[in-house]
Amino acid sequence: MSPMNLRQRFYLVEVLTGLWLTAAHFFRNMGRHTARAFGRKGTSGAVTIQYPEERRPYSPRLRSLHRLVRREDGSPRCVACMMCETVCPAHCIYIVADEHPNPEIEKVPRRFDIDLGKCVFCGYCVEACPEDAIRMDTGILEFSSYSRGGMIYSKDMLLSFEPADASGRPRSPIPLPADRRA
């Protein structure tokens, strides 16, 4: 670091420069807030995104809460091949297979649980699936629970989620875990 010159050592000029900068920000933002209060659109006095009401657009590649893709009749597209369960590095998928009534389709999951408390959101399950039956495109990030059990999502819950819209906003309501339901 170069030694300070006399003007910097005197400090007062530097202080006034700093105050000028912050005051300029204050009055510019104040003017914009006032303009908005009087109904002018466009400029904003703050860079804040007021989170629960406003969200910044998410990338389409975002890995969010899982969902199981449905067939036209509403049954899961999953054929219980156990590929995702095998590839999952966190061992957090638990599948119990069952016969599918349609002879064209081999199997169907009777149980399909994901323990999101263990999941590391690597997305391998999505990559591994041969049927494109599991996706991580719900856009839901706010799932939490007071207990470990509350983080286990069952087949019915996973089937109920819709994919996020084009800007990444979730279309399904944020799931309330069992231990937080009234």
Partner: protein, 362 residues
Amino acid sequence: MLIDLGIAFGRVAFVMLFVLNVAALLGWVERKQSAIMQDRIGANRASIFGFRVLGLFHPLADTLKMLTKEDFRPARADRLLFDLAPAVSVFFALVAFASIPFGDTLRVAGRVVPLQAVTLNVGVLYVLAMLSLGVYGVMMAGWSSANNYALLGGQRAAALMISAEIAIGASIMGVVMIHGSLNLMDIVRGQGYLLWGWVPAWGIITQPLAFILFVTAGIAATKRIPFDMPEGESEIIGYFVEYSGMKFGMFLMTDMVETIVLAGLSTSLFLGGWQIPYLFAEGFHFPWGAGIALPPLLVTLLQVSAFVGKVAAVIFVLMLIRWTLPRFRYDQAMRLGWLGLFPLAIANIVLTGLVLAAWGNR
């Protein structure tokens, strides 16, 4: 007798309510102003029946929170001093405003009432004395907490206060010399004169160097950033590290009240107090000869609002400084106080004396 009592009560009540309400409001001002300076929005979530009113309910919510929190006392703390410290701190800050005038005189029921809580011939000294007594609360807090960090904070506060007090005392000597009085009312009245017939003789014009020194040392006396090493929240947390609940809130309030006192004192000493340029007891007299006659009550009202407005403006600048500058290191602050502010203030006294002597000889 009863009227006199009522008048005295009114004067004290006005000052007390003014200081307490502005102190509560300052928490909101501090949050919002810093937010707007930093391109943020600031606290805006506290609501009553869905009304948010720009976050104005946050001070209320904060107070409720502090009142309902656990009042924790460390096992080895000195009980008496520990409980007394925040009260001492906030008490002396609150009474310091008493001798600051917020207007000229008002005629009530045939009596001429000076608009200040207490009329004191040594008003300047009184404010300074109360401000420096306030540091005893901080030292008591540091000592009684049985915590080394708190002790360090209290010690730093004492050292900082001494170096700031000296500079404050020396810097206002120039103003006192010009007006020849320690009575704040006389000093404010003296600033109503016009130099060369048109420049108001405010302290900032007659004593510009003293103004800068006073504000710098004054910020140090309030223990706020950039002179917050008694607190030093990133290193020692400071004298109130063991305090919780409303006792902690009282320390926070002390800082706010001291900011108001500093703003009121610098307004009275350097910004003409309740004076409005060219406004006299009968109305406006402009230097180019024009004039507007005003009723006395309106003049008083204008003066009081001028005082409040000036205090608000000074508080804005103090907040601006607080949210712009980083903290001084302990040794830097000591050096600034003893080797920067103090000698400059002494030089200012000598200079003022020479100018006054030359002026008087003409």
